[in-house]
């Protein structure tokens, strides 16, 4: 059995890693963007971001003060785990104290802070069952400067690919500089309203260098990205070519009467960390 102690330690370490060490693919993407930018303020913003990423690692501190709302993705195989729910919560509490993280979780109406990053239905834990001999945990701290710009459209089937493209572009253009561009845009197509939003979020866990295996989606991703980057919103909304680093789409089957489109906006700090635990 995988012990409570192991889960607590893993969750806490993953949270710490996620908020301090940005994944390499984003860094490379930002460096590439800097090479192609000629707008002076855009260049200053990207240079500041790259320097910040370096300082976070060097000084072992969170790259952003908004250490997010804790989102947990679990792939659960044929293993036995001790107190999975409470162990995840304890891991988050431990990270909150030790990293430290900012206590971000409040009552939606009284706005009273719980001070430990745990609350009613928080962290949301997504469980995907897999036929493997391990459990895989991903900690995905979501900042709300970007999360506040998400959108859902229950489109008509007749709107098709053009409808998808228009809605995603419209959502990102409306957000302007608010979500800390350069952004990464996750899109979920199909399913139900909640599934489309969930897939939009999961799409952000794909590596930027990873090509979409579905050629139709790959073309759609490319076209949406081009259209967004023509907007001149630029880094932090101060102009430039780099409004979004990448667009990632996941699709699910859906009902014959519908075409749900979910859009999840992510700032440049696309933070997540994953680990597999085997039962041995």
């Amino acid at each position: 059995m995988i012990s409570e102690k192991t889960i607590i330690k893993t969750v806490s370490e993953l949270y710490k890693k996620a908020v301090i060490n940005l994944n390499e693919d984003i860094k490379i993407s930002l460096e590439d963007a800097l090479k192609s930018e000629d707008n002076e303020l855009a260049r200053l913003n990207i240079q500041t971001i790259l320097k910040n990423i370096e300082l976070a690692e060097k000084n072992n501190i969170p790259m952003c003060q908004d250490t997010g709302l804790p989102i947990v993705f679990v792939k659960l195989g044929n293993v036995e785990v001790e107190n999975l729910k409470s162990s995840i919560e304890k891991g988050i509490e431990k990270a909150t104290e030790e990293v430290p993280l900012r206590p971000n979780i409040v009552d939606p109406l009284t706005r009273k802070n719980t001070n430990n990053n745990i609350g009613k239905y928080i962290p949301p834990i997504d469980i995907e069952l897999i036929d493997k001999d391990y459990i895989e945990i991903t900690i995905f701290p979501k900042g709300f400067g970007s999360e506040n710009n998400n959108a859902l459209k229950m489109a008509l089937p007749s709107e098709g690919e053009k409808g998808i493209k228009d809605f995603v572009v419209e959502t990102v253009l409306k957000a302007k500089g608010k979500p800390c561009p350069p952004t990464i845009i996750g899109v979920g197509i199909g399913g139900t309203s909640d599934l489309a939003m969930k897939l939009a979020k999961k799409a952000l866990l794909k590596n930027i260098s990873e090509k979409n295996p579905d050629p139709t989606l790959e073309t759609l991703e490319k076209e949406i990205k081009e259209k967004i980057n023509e907007s001149d919103i630029g880094p932090m909304g101060l102009g430039g070519k780099t409004t979004t680093l990448d667009v990632k789409i996941i699709k699910a089957h859906t009902h014959t009467a519908g075409l749900p489109i979910g859009v999840c906006v992510q700032c440049w700090a696309n933070r997540y960390a994953t680990e597999r635990i085997y039962d041995n």
């Binding site: 003060q65 908004d66 101060l238 700032c267």
Partner: protein
């Protein structure tokens, strides 16, 4: 590059949208809850010439609850538009510099013009970089609002880079 001392005690209408600025002196953090309470109850700090920073820092208490010893861990800007409903009234109380990210609305631009004040943009998400300019936490008010929402009075040295996003002549990089 322009170095500015805050609080401001001279005319800053020469600052133009697009200028890069570094601040030294004292700055007050304030988010939506603090802005709301400033308007309801008055500010615990003198706002004449003050610089306000839309930020919710990560702060560690290395002392006890009775005798706190606060240490700044990370600090960066939060999305300014959440303060749109309160900002112009707060600027009318004497604030000369507002630091945040993402831009603000027309009512704020008009308040900047009216009061010869500026809106500066910090690069979002860069808390590991901006924390280097924080020399000291002088004190804190309204901690009952929670760590992110409290007003932290910070001593800063060469805090930047910040870009003038909206100036006192009505120019805005967000238009």
């Amino acid at each position: 590059m322009i170095n500015l001392d805050v609080p401001i005690n001279h005319n800053i209408s020469n600052l133009k949208a697009g200028d890069v600025v570094y601040l030294s002196g004292n700055i007050l953090t304030a988010r939506d809850q603090a802005h709301k309470r400033i308007l309801e109850e008055g500010s615990p700090y003198d706002l004449e010439g003050a610089a306000i920073f839309h930020a919710g820092p990560i702060i560690k208490n290395e002392g006890t609850e009775e005798k706190p010893d606060y240490k700044m861990v990370a600090i960066g800007p939060t999305t300014s538009m959440r303060m749109n409903p309160y900002q112009s009234d707060v600027i009318d109380k004497g604030v000369k510099v507002v630091v945040g990210k993402g831009g603000m609305d027309e009512s704020v631009l008009n308040a900047l013009i009216r009061n010869n004040a500026v809106y500066l943009v910090a690069t979002g998400g860069c808390a590991a970089l901006y924390v280097d300019a924080i020399e000291k936490i002088e004190n804190v008010e309204w901690l009952d609002l929670g760590m992110p929402e409290a007003i932290w009075n910070l001593k800063i040295n060469s805090f930047g880079p910040l870009i003038v996003g909206m100036d006192s002549n009505g120019n805005s990089l967000y238009k």
